[in-house]
Symmetry: C2
Subunit: 197 residues, 2 copies
Amino acid sequence: MTIAINTRDRILEAAKSRFHSRSYADVGIKEICDTALIQKGSFYHFFPSKQDLVLAVIDEFATEWAEGFVAEAFDPSLPPMERISYMIDAAYYWQKSAKEKHGKIPGCLFGNLVLEVSTKDDVLRARLNAVFAQAKSRFEEALNEAMERGDIAPLNSKLTAEAMLAYLEGMILFAKAQNDPEVLYRLGPAIMSLRIE
Amino acid sequence: MTIAINTRDRILEAAKSRFHSRSYADVGIKEICDTALIQKGSFYHFFPSKQDLVLAVIDEFATEWAEGFVAEAFDPSLPPMERISYMIDAAYYWQKSAKEKHGKIPGCLFGNLVLEVSTKDDVLRARLNAVFAQAKSRFEEALNEAMERGDIAPLNSKLTAEAMLAYLEGMILFAKAQNDPEVLYRLGPAIMSLRIE
DNA sequence: TTGACACTTGACCGTCCAGTCAACTATAAT
DNA sequence: ATTATAGTTGACTGGACGGTCAAGTGTCAA
């Protein structure tokens, strides 16, 4: 009970970084236990299954991400369209520094999981969708505010927000394929040209 | 030697559809053999390893795809920008019919594999990049022709082509996450607004 | 007819997988 | 002091994994 919370966190941390840099299927419970310096029985005391673990990882990382550089990018004191380019820049620097640390671009944890598990696990798919929905609304708010201020011509903010997020995920996919964060640097600014309606 | 080519094709076919609708890690050699009605020893006569199989699947599907609806979309007799929207439409109908058949959107085989294996296997990553490079040049040619004809304002066709393909992959990712091909229908047309330089 | 070779069979190998469990320890409330 | 419970240990299960192999069978060229 005393260091138990600590144990749970160590499991979560070990799982998060490994799921992100490799894949869900590729990372075993045993490996996570070894990293967290615990035994299997202890793991299953906290998480009834591997699926429960990855759900917790998704929640953890979504919060960390939303309260971290997403909050920083979508700072209300910034002009709305600048928030969006800040977001792209943040993604670029994040992937770049991850590559410097580990030699490989991990891509987006949520995007990786979506393509890996969507056809096999509806519970995971639903959770990942919820994360994307959150991100989408950030873009949408920024677009609405930009329209109100007359910074951009009128458009469908809901659809354009979705398009922008899709474009971001697509760029990250290409960056990962080429193992080159500069893809984001080259293609990033074009997000501003995207518009629907 | 007589029905051997047939056997190889059956292996390839079984592997292709399974890798596409599930994932590389999730589909075992045994399952592929059962589907192709052969034994393991026979499989390893044609493919020295699972990696060799997936490389062959990538090549097969890339060819089938390039000579199939990509060739149809990028028909030189079509106005260049119409080729691009034809390509989006084709992706939409393809995912839609796949969902009707199997209940789930499989997404793009190449995109799926990129996110699954890029950090773990440079050989696969390189092959997938080659496939994307081919597709990119199709978009690029269309953009160049559109510029020559004065259909669109001058832009960097290489980068814009890459951006468009990234956007397509991003839309497919979202469609898979929501298991809804209509995402492509809603977001597809915005590909025309993408431009770099 | 013989030999070479493409192809096929099915048993087998060692390893890893997610998950289980009975037993143990440490803590905190009564 | 007793009891309940949270946390931990490490051995264990059954099955799946990628891959190997010796022993075949069928076909073709010489």
